[in-house]
């Protein structure tokens, strides 16, 4: 955890810049944002990104519902959120301006391409008059640049057609960004040359556009009014890369294969936003990892259970709708007590909901979404980078305690990127699966007295042939049993085993006061917003503490003590109060929910105001 938890709480935000790109979903906005993020990271800035895109793959050009956006905050150390409001907005068409201008702070910079503000596009976006003319945008600083024409001129010498010239626009804009905000062009040029190695003329045109955009800003001496490019992180040492939560989770699962020596079998069915993890791991197929794209969610869960039964480690992932379908299989894994890692990349629901937007409303499902008494550990990373260690811990617990473990991520953590210092691989502890080989005295449901885990006896092992199944089984020998005392005892044993897990995930005050007026308990992707909101309140002299839970079940044993040190408890989460209800029911404290279901992360200012209202003495 230490390598990934950016815990610079004492630091007040000073020189930060927030840039937002918005355009058609086919404009390459996400590529533009991702490359800019990489470049500012290389230029020694801390950063956090927020990709904000529609489910439509290529929505009708110019439509408001087809607008894809990408926001990045960068600056010196301790950037933990993508920023409440943007300092600059790149609007690639009228629809992008219309749907994103409210994200811009007053006096912020708008870069717009007048060539894209055609009568047709204006009408599509619902503008009666062109907002680039007149004083509709007088609250902002407007720079109009004929990006399409300038890109076409820049790439003319590379001999590419009109279509590719149109596609190179985002690289031209990226070049301009580098001029305005700093950033290292070399990495992007390298990436372009790699990506288009089979189409050198396309690579050449993209590089030409990138350089032309930069030269344009330099020639006109455009000024973003930002000083963030001078606000660098403290000197760092070691290896870094930018990772999304998906990247970090995929790397964590690969690490599990390396640390355990086991074959990791990743079984999944395509679903937004979890599919990206399947894509990441499919690229590692054969290197300790095999990926299996199953015919449905149920098959992916049961195939993962089969893999664990046979001595690999089965992992299955999905989003909320898929986790519902996996419920019966998770119950089977609880009953037969086999290791399994199940990942839920949460999205806004119910039903199809808003598939590309984050929410934290699957906590109840994770805790209770199985029939019968079927408890299992539930973990949640707080940041994209934390996904690495949390998924390793999930695998370790699954094997040590012979239990399925659920990991709750969400669409924001999965897609957001941050700079991450690579962990020292040699320092990561080995995971040693305790396969049973001794035939003498073997009983499939005998228990380790320390962990209450049953033995992991895999097919092929001499002398251990036995049968397991979903029917209740007698303690010890594991024969089918309908004995009332046995079912009572087995139900309590399964619960006690999960209640007694000892994880290495921290549970302590993450920032702010260690005791006092208000304890703010969060989990998952709300981490950055809570850190900054609590910083705001503590800087005003309030005794507010922040505790971020990485282990949601069983709740950490020291949580009761920490709760007692505060007069009030608030639980901000992107749902209607699910963790708040859990805290209330487990500890009989008046935990106050601060729920939000907008498909968007908390804004820091909003959260700070909500928390301030809960401070003792605040006007009710």
């Amino acid at each position: 955890m230490t390598a990934s938890a950016p815990a610079n709480h004492a630091h007040a935000p000073t020189t930060r810049t927030v840039v937002r790109f918005a355009g058609d979903s086919g404009d390459g906005i996400q590529v533009l944002g991702t490359e800019f993020a990489k470049a500012v990271a290389l230029d020694r800035h801390d950063l956090m990104t927020l990709p904000d895109f529609p489910a439509e793959i290529r929505a009708p050009a110019g439509s408001t519902f087809g607008v894809s956006a990408f926001q990045i905050q960068f600056g010196d150390d301790g950037v933990l959120t993508p920023g409440d409001q943007a300092d600059a907005l790149f609007a690639f068409n009228p629809a992008a301006l219309k749907t994103n201008v409210d994200a811009l702070k007053p006096g912020g910079l708008i870069v717009a391409d007048p060539g894209a503000f055609s009568a047709r596009n204006l009408k599509r976006a619902g503008y009666a008059a062109n907002p680039l003319d007149g004083d509709a945008l007088s609250r902002y600083r407007l720079i109009t640049v004929d990006i399409a024409r300038l890109t076409a001129e820049a790439v003319a010498a590379t001999g590419v057609g009109k279509k590719q010239a149109g596609r190179a626009k985002n690289f031209w804009s990226l070049g301009l960004c580098f001029w305005l905000f700093g950033g290292e062009r070399g990495a992007t040029i390298g990436w372009i040359e790699d990506k288009f190695v089979k189409a050198p003329e396309v690579a050449a045109s993209n590089v030409a556009a990138l350089n032309a955009g930069h030269a344009y800003g330099e020639t006109l001496e455009l000024d973003a009014g930002s000083t963030a490019q001078d606000a660098r992180t403290a000197p760092r040492h070691g290896l870094f890369r930018t990772v999304t939560g998906t990247d970090a989770m995929g790397l964590g699962l690969a690490a599990v294969a390396a640390l355990s020596g086991l074959k990791l079998t990743y079984c999944s069915y395509p679903i937004t936003p979890a599919s990206a993890l399947l894509h990441f791991l499919a690229g590692l197929n054969g290197r300790g990892v095999s990926t299996f794209q199953a015919e449905d969610e149920i098959a992916s869960a049961t195939a993962a259970i089969g893999a664990s039964y046979a001595g690999g480690l089965g992992v299955t992932a999905s989003s909320g709708p898929g986790l519902v379908l996996k419920g019966e299989a998770l119950g089977l894994a609880v009953a037969v007590e086999l290791p399994l890692v199940a990942i839920d990349v949460q999205r806004a629901g119910p039903s199809t909901g808003m598939p590309t937007k984050p929410e934290q409303a699957d906590l109840n499902l994770a805790l209770y979404g199985r029939h019968g008494e079927a408890p299992l550990p539930v973990l949640a990373p707080a940041t994209p980078a934390e996904c690495f260690h949390v998924v390793i811990e999930a695998a370790r617990l699954a094997m040590r305690y012979m239990t399925p473990v659920l990991v709750l991520s969400d669409a924001y953590i999965a897609n957001a990127a941050q700079a991450w210092q690579l962990p020292d691989v040699d320092a990561l502890p080995a995971i040693t699966p305790a396969f049973r080989t001794e035939a003498h005295g073997f009983q499939p449901f005998a228990r380790n007295p320390d962990t209450l885990a049953r033995p992991w006896a895999t097919p092929g092992t001499t002398g251990l042939a036995h049968r397991i199944g979903g029917l209740e089984r007698g303690a010890g020998a594991g024969d089918i049993s309908y004995d009332p005392d046995n079912h009572e005892a087995m139900s309590r044993l399964r619960a006690a085993k999960v209640a007694g897990i000892e994880s290495t995930l921290p549970c302590d005050i993450d920032g702010g006061a260690a005791a006092g007026d208000l304890l703010v308990i969060g989990w998952g992707s709300t981490y950055g917003a809570i850190v900054e909101a609590v910083q705001g309140l503590t800087s005003q002299g309030h005794a507010v503490g922040h505790l971020h839970l990485r282990q949601l079940w069983p709740l950490p044993p020291n949580l009761a003590d920490i709760l007692q040190r505060f007069r009030a408890v608030a639980v901000p989460e992107l749902n209607h109060g699910q963790l708040a209800r859990l805290i209330r029911s487990e500890f009989l404290v008046d935990a106050r929910p601060i729920g939000q279901m907008r498909g968007q992360p908390f804004k820091v200012a909003h959260l700070e105001a909500e928390l301030a209202a809960l401070l003792p003495g605040a006007p009710q």
């Binding site: 990271a41 290389l42 020694r44 990495a187 000197p235 070691g238 290896l239 870094f240 890369r241 930018t242 790397l251 690969a254 690490a255 294969a257 640390l259 020596g261 074959k263 079998t265 590692l284 197929n285 054969g286 290197r287 300790g288 990892v289 095999s290 299996f292 199953a294 015919e295 149920i298 098959a299 992916s300 049961t302 195939a303 993962a304 259970i305 089969g306 893999a307 664990s308 039964y309 046979a310 690999g312 089965g314 019966e328 299989a329 089977l332 690579l422 691989v425 040699d426 895999t458 097919p459 092929g460 001499t462 002398g463 042939a465 036995h466 049968r467 397991i468 199944g469 979903g470 089918i480």
Partner: protein, 329 residues
């Protein structure tokens, strides 16, 4: 997984579990055949796994002294796929009924056949739900009266062998519970096949659907009502094999001939003939039994290995993966 042949008998595959099927259940005969086949295969008991879902037939793993996994309704083929992914050397058998394989688990059956996962799939077809007390199943014939269809069913039954062929199954066979010569031979062929070997076993449920296949399995009528097909041999039936079937390829149908020399030779590599045999459901003609179709095709794990040889990951190799796209500060 040494590949050595071990001398075992059918008795060696009995477990200490009390068999809990109804007296007279066809599953007893199937269990007997399976144990005989396992003894003949000569593999170590520990290298074999029986996987099942839910249903009467799904109790199978408890009665075979190998590794066994009694899972959830319909999902045995997927669970078995995971087992093969983690340890391809295991000999994995999946046993289920018509509801398990064709109703709740139909999707998984389609996909293990399509992928050709190296499994022995034994469909115990009694055309009724047994364990849930006698409801009509996807293979019940039209007009079946049951607690859930008191006026008789009106939805058409499914043809398992045709379904398996349609899903891309490359080993498809049919046998019956009481055929204690034919069933073990068929299961042996299935076991030898590298890929998804699908065997439909007609089974009599004495309690809820007695005599559903009566004429086919009763000894007196068997010779006239069934035809056992064997690769390269004429399709003959009758008490002394005096009658034969002639395949009419343009229609995809069969006619009876009294001239045995005219009977069509079975060719288990001919997909059209296999589909015609699967579809031969006609009171005036004998029902085909045997291996309808068997052609070699890469099985799933072999294809996976060919695509990306599966190797463990070392820490040093992981470091390379981790460092991709990184920079030194």
């Amino acid at each position: 997984m040494s590949g050595q042949v071990i001398a075992l008998t059918a008795r060696d595959f009995e477990t200490d579990q009390e068999v809990r099927w109804c007296p007279g259940c066809g599953d007893y005969a199937i269990l007997k055949s399976v144990r005989r086949v396992l003894a003949q295969l000569g593999r170590r008991r520990e290298d074999t796994v029986f996987v099942s879902g839910i249903g009467c037939a799904a109790r199978f793993p408890y009665y075979v002294d190998t590794y066994g996994f009694h899972s959830i309704h319909g999902r045995a083929p997927s669970l078995a796929t995971g087992i093969k992914l983690a340890n391809p050397a295991l000999d994995v058998w999946v046993v289920g009924g018509d509801a398990d394989f064709l109703a709740i688990g139909g999707n998984h059956l389609l996909h293990v056949l399509r992928r050709n996962v190296d499994l022995n799939l034994v469909l115990v077809n009694n055309a009724i739900y047994g364990l849930t007390k006698g409801q009509a199943s996807p293979t019940s014939s039209i007009g079946t009266r049951s607690p859930s269809s008191p006026a008789g069913t009106f939805d058409a039954p499914m043809n398992p062998a045709a379904l398996a062929l349609g899903a891309g199954g490359s080993f498809v066979a049919r046998s019956a519970d009481m055929l204690q010569d034919h069933l073990p031979d068929t299961l042996l062929r299935a076991s030898a096949y590298r890929g998804a070997a699908f065997v439909e076993v007609l089974q009599n449920c004495i309690v809820y659907n007695d005599n559903a296949f009566g004429d086919l399995t009763r000894k007196a009528a068997r010779a006239e009502k069934t035809v056992q097909v064997r690769h390269g041999e004429p399709m003959l039936f009758g008490a002394n094999g005096e009658r034969g079937l002639v395949y009419e390829p343009w229609q995809g149908t069969f006619r009876i001939t009294e001239n045995a020399a005219e009977a069509t030779l079975h060719d288990e590599t001919n997909p059209a003939l296999a589909m015609a045999l699967a579809h031969l459901v006609d009171d005036a003609l004998p029902m085909p039994l045997g291996v309808f179709y068997a052609v070699p095709r890469p099985h799933y794990v072999a294809a996976l290995e060919a695509n990306a040889p599966q190797q463990p990951l070392t820490r040093d190799e992981f470091k390379d993966i981790l460092r991709a796209g990184s920079w030194r500060a």
